[in-house]
């Protein structure tokens, strides 16, 4: 099956040729059909530029963009059949909700009855049929975002593009809207691409995750594969790994604080690396304590964080720390360092 969207060594630079800054460099990407893909990375990593190139708002400096297998690099946005949802919602303030949703259908010259039916259907999908006659200004942020979603879905786009759609919402609403997004994508069976800097959002929503750094692809795959096995220090760092010791015989590794164990005296050692360490700081977090230790024998000052559920040791105490083999991630050559 051809991917819905394909990027072939796409680059984009901004600014004049001499002091141009590369926002995206030599990116290859295939977006699987009917799946939820996220482009994840810190701000300035090129994820939004990538999405805008797929939409046709930005032209690549080099490379090709294929939609449904056909070269669409030079196709204007209105001929690409994309459904885009913006961070700022971008609802037309002078039109009612239903007219907003119907806009794309009317632009396609559909018959009146079909426009009404499909716009109504899309509005029902997001549960806002009751507000059809209102203007966007009268709606809450969450409602506006749902209208924007309905508007994009109504045209039955070949791909749904979501540009940080949840970042203008408050924390509680954001979590609700994630479920809503996922439901709408499943019910419609649309291919979706979400841009986000929020790793939780990406983990929860995506079937396929693409992590970008400085305009280059760092790692891609299913969240279940990427999360426990980050390929580089950058990805591990971004996904919340906090300990990066260099172990004798292992080289550079990464491990999450919740996987580091403090061994009580006499406890048998599991498979893994055991280190002698001194406690330097303890922070109470409610369900657990974060114990900061300095590992001896790793050269000076190798600081490790350990999320410890039991009674915490005191600063200055000597402890034994276990890094279980099952949770140790061996980091490959850093993509960035390799350049």
């Amino acid at each position: 099956m051809t991917p819905v969207v394909q990027l072939e060594s796409v680059s984009r630079a901004f600014g004049r040729s001499r002091d141009a800054v590369a926002a995206v460099s030599d990116l290859d990407l295939a977006v699987p059909r009917g799946k939820f893909t996220t482009l994840l990375g810190p701000s300035g990593c090129g994820k939004t530029t990538t999405l805008r190139m797929i939409a046709g708002f930005v032209q690549p400096t080099s490379g090709r963009i294929l939609l449904e297998g056909a070269d669409a690099t030079k196709t204007p946005p209105e001929k690409r059949n994309i459904g885009m949802v913006f961070q700022s919602y971008a609802l037309f303030p002078h039109m009612t909700i239903i007219d907003n949703v119907a806009f794309g259908l009317r632009a396609r010259g559909l018959a009146k009855t079909e426009v009404t039916a499909r716009a109504g259907e899309a509005l029902e999908l997001v549960g806002l049929s009751a507000l059809a006659g209102r203007k966007p200004g009268a709606l809450s942020g969450g409602q506006q975002q749902r209208v924007a979603l309905a508007r994009a879905v109504a045209i039955r786009p070949s791909v749904l593009l979501l540009d940080e759609p949840l970042s203008n919402l408050d924390a509680r609403l954001r979590v609700q809207m994630r479920a809503e997004l996922r439901r709408v994508q499943r019910e419609t069976g649309l291919t979706a691409i979400l841009v986000t800097h929020d790793q939780d959002e990406a983990l929860e929503l995506s079937d396929h995750m693409v992590i970008l750094n400085k305009g280059r692809l760092e790692q891609e795959g299913a969240p279940r594969d990427v999360f426990p096995r980050p390929a580089s220090r950058f990805v591990a760092d971004f996904l919340g790994y906090e300990n990066f010791p260099v172990l004798p015989g292992h080289g550079p590794v990464a491990i999450r604080p919740e996987h580091v164990r403090l061994l009580s005296s006499g406890e048998p050692e599991d498979a893994g690396v055991t280190l002698e360490a001194t406690v330097t700081n303890v922070t109470y977090q409610g369900s657990h304590c974060v114990v900061e230790v300095n590992a001896n024998g790793l050269g000076d000052g190798t600081r490790l964080l350990c999320a410890h559920p039991g009674e915490a040791p005191r600063p200055g105490e000597a402890v034994r720390v276990l890094l279980p083999a099952a949770h140790l991630v061996t980091l490959g050559e850093d993509a960035e360092a390799a350049r």
Binding site: F14, G15, A23, S43, T48, T49, R52, F57, V58, Q59, P76, P77
Partner: protein
């Protein structure tokens, strides 16, 4: 991502389109503004840059004309100061009363801007004229007739009336953005009302006051109707002098010289004020 957003326009609409949108406006500016103004300031009919320069020189040294320049500046400065002293408190009041009052007060202050300057100045003739309101008042008090019409004071009064709305608006735009809790904080720290006003409210509203002062000063230097009606031929300022040179003495190079001095005066003050506000914002 701001950058990407800016570039979109270019990529969605071609450069040719942008050019076509800008050119008609620029063409009219060129033909109806830049060309005639430049030509008149440098090459008036029956004159050349040398004549204009000579006329400008005599304007700046002539014992009859120098007082006109001095009067213009004096009138503009006094007008600006009075406008500031009256306008700032009004703006402050408007910014601190409940919204249903502030809207109405602001509208009342702005409304005179809808009337032309003849309408606005005409009333002063009734107030200040030979057998006008003020004169009957002073005579009634046994002080004899007042002779304010055709004096500098009359011009200043008329100009203050004309430009107060601009000062109020400029100050208000600064004051309405100020958090009223700043003043409460100052009071809470033990400052008297006057001290809180002097040390917190006024300094923070200075940018708006500066814009207001620039607008009023430039307006006062270039106003014509009011000084013509209230100052007449006795108390000439640059604008009325310019008019009489064009209409009465028909001396065009001399008129260009007055125009040049007036324009330079306004430009210098605007430039100074924008330097000042740029300096203020970096501190």
């Amino acid at each position: 991502m701001r950058r990407a957003a800016n570039l979109t326009g270019v990529e969605l609409s071609r450069r040719g389109t942008l050019f076509a949108l800008l050119v008609p406006g620029l063409a009219v500016l060129l033909f109806g503004f830049l060309y005639p103004v430049a030509a008149t300031l440098a090459f008036p009919p029956d004159g050349d840059p040398a004549t204009v320069a000579r006329e400008t020189g005599s304007l700046l040294t002539d014992p009859y004309l120098l007082p006109v320049i001095a009067r213009t500046i004096r009138v503009a400065v006094v007008t600006t100061l009075i406008c500031l002293v009256l306008g700032f408190p009004v703006a402050y009041l408007i910014s601190r009363v409940p919204p249903r009052w502030s809207g109405k007060l602001l509208a009342l202050a702005i409304f005179p801007l809808m009337l032309n300057t003849v309408v606005r100045t005409y009333g002063w003739l009734v107030v200040l004229g030979g057998n006008g309101l003020l004169s009957s008042l002073t005579e009634g008090l046994g002080l004899g007739p007042s002779r304010l019409l055709y004096t500098e004071t009359a011009i200043v009064l008329g100009l203050v009336q004309l430009f107060l709305p601009l000062m109020i608006l400029s100050c208000y735009s600064s004051l309405s953005q100020q958090d009223p809790r700043l003043e409460e904080a100052a009071r809470g720290l033990g400052a008297s009302p006057g001290r809180a006003f002097r040390q917190v409210v006024f300094p923070l509203a200075l940018p708006g006051a500066l814009v207001g002062c620039t607008l009023v000063f430039a307006g006062a230097v270039t106003a014509f109707t009011t000084p013509q009606l209230l100052g007449g031929a006795r108390e000439r300022i640059l604008s009325t002098l310019l008019y009489s040179r064009v209409n009465v003495s028909l001396d065009w190079p001399a008129a260009s010289a007055v125009a040049l001095v007036m324009t330079v005066l306004v430009l210098v003050v605007s430039a100074l004020s924008s330097r000042l506000s740029a300096k203020g914002s970096t501190q």
